[in-house]
């Protein structure tokens, strides 16, 4: 493996980590709201947040490019704010990944929150805990399996994210060239040997990481039997 490969790997991990963290932070309130609300908006909002999925990633990337480009609304906003434009930056691919991966993180969280039911929160309220605090002390810990799934799905999906990153990232070494793009480059250049190598590293590393996480999780898991 070449040192540039190493850089690519670091960048990939950084991307996946940041995206996962942002997504967990972002999805948690949305999932919570969706799980608790009786508003009529629930179904439309659920449908909207699932939408990033149905657009093929390259197409999604293409539209994000339009939106964030100099003539797009986001582009004009960043321009007005004096910020450098988002496409072809690390920030840009983070945003793209976040949007595309959102449903995978949101759904398990929402399911987990819904599975808790109302009782534990009622109990917390009778113990003087304001809903805001109860959310952190009760809902979050009880939804742990959901967070676990959400994080795994989000992380893996970000590592494997390709279309969106390729489209709005522009394949710039050290900034937006992540492993998926690099492997693809090798394939296109008929460098199958290096592609294989890199893919093997990716799969091997991910397997070990996932294995450790799953083992840790099954340690933490509490028994569900009650007498």
């Amino acid at each position: 493996m070449v040192s540039s490969d190493f850089m690519v790997m670091v960048l990939t991990l950084k991307l996946a980590l940041i995206v996962t963290i942002i997504l967990l932070l972002l999805s948690t309130p949305i999932a919570w709201w969706l799980s608790q609300t009786k508003s009529r908006l629930k179904s439309p909002v659920s449908a909207i947040v699932s939408l990033p999925l149905v657009l093929p990633p390259t197409v999604l990337g293409f539209y994000l490019l339009l939106l964030m480009g100099p003539h797009g609304p986001i582009g004009q906003l960043t321009d007005w704010l004096g910020v450098s434009p988002l496409p072809f930056t690390f920030t840009g691919i983070v945003i793209g990944c976040v949007i595309h991966t959102l449903p995978f993180v949101l759904q398990p969280l929402q399911n987990a929150f819904e599975a808790i039911g109302h009782r534990p929160l009622e109990v917390a309220a009778t113990l003087r805990m304001p809903p805001g605090v109860a959310f952190f002390k009760v809902a979050l810990p009880l939804a742990r399996p959901g967070f676990f799934s959400a994080a795994i799905l989000g992380f893996c999906h970000s590592i494997g994210e390709f279309g969106v990153v390729l489209m709005i990232g522009g394949n710039i070494p050290g900034q937006t060239r992540v492993m998926s793009v690099e492997i693809y480059n090798h394939v296109e250049a008929l460098e199958y040997g290096r592609a294989n190598q890199l893919a093997a590293v990716l799969v091997g590393f991910s397997f070990v990481a996932l294995l450790l996480i799953y083992m840790l999780n099954s340690r933490l898991a509490t028994r569900k039997v009650t007498l």
């Binding site: 490019l65 339009l66 003539h71 496409p87 072809f88 394949n171 710039i172 296109e188």
Partner: protein, 231 residues
């Protein structure tokens, strides 16, 4: 009868026009599958059901012949690609390399040189001009030439190297402004077509390949800015 053609991205648009023209005189169905040359190559090696491969280079058709996947001797250069340094903005580039040399811009789009022959040509041009090291930090890569074009055409990158065929209609640059890179700045982009072995006896495919070499076809190809001279 049916002819299945795998075509490199840069030639997709011209080929659509060619097919229309071809079907005025033939009842054969011509079905197009577009992709980058590298991907199409991989698919063909693994049994993709195409009859004809229109690549963006010579390397891959030759490898197919060597591997007996394509019919030896069927390859020919259907077009020589030309490179343009282009911007969507009118009058930005004055038809010479001056603007490029000044380098007063943040980003420069080009196709991935490893995967796309047009990217390799762009790199060669910059090296020839001695600008490569100065500009290389400004590169933004499109995976193929189609993607590179979309970067520039939507203004995400103000200027870049694209295929002339993408911006050239009827003998002139149709929108924006650009500098058509002289042929000797980069190794020729010879785009070869090849008949695949599975379809060695497919008459319709052979007919279509023949059509591609006809004067009418050459005229259409030329109108997209390709070089069709026999050299």
């Amino acid at each position: 009868e049916e002819v299945k053609v795998a075509v490199a991205a840069n030639f997709y648009k011209p080929l659509q026009v060619l097919v229309k023209n071809y079907q005025q005189s033939s009842s054969d169905q011509v079905m197009l599958s577009v992709g980058s040359t590298g991907k199409l190559y991989a698919q063909i090696v693994n049994g993709a059901p195409f009859d004809i491969f229109l690549a963006a280079d010579q390397k891959r058709p030759r490898k197919l012949v060597k591997a007996h996947v394509a019919v030896a001797g069927s390859e020919f250069t259907y077009a020589k690609g030309r490179l343009i340094f282009w911007s969507k903005q009118p009058k930005l580039i004055d038809g010479s390399e001056r603007y490029l040399k000044e380098g007063k811009f943040n980003k420069l789009a080009l196709a991935n040189p490893k995967a796309a022959p047009y990217g390799a040509a762009a790199v060669a041009t910059l090296k020839k001009l001695g600008l490569y090291n100065r500009l290389k930090d400004k590169f933004v890569f499109g995976q193929n030439i189609g993607q590179t074009y979309s970067y520039v055409s939507y203004g995400n990158v103000q200027q870049g190297f694209v295929a002339l065929s993408q911006v050239y209609r009827n003998g002139k640059i149709s929108t924006g402004s650009g500098w058509i890179v002289p042929n000797h700045y980069y190794p020729a982009i010879r785009q070869d077509a090849v008949l695949l072995s599975k379809s060695a006896d497919n008459q319709a495919a052979k007919k279509f390949l023949a059509y591609l070499q006809s004067p009418k076809a050459k005229q259409i190809i030329h109108s997209f800015g390709y070089d069709v001279s026999d050299k």
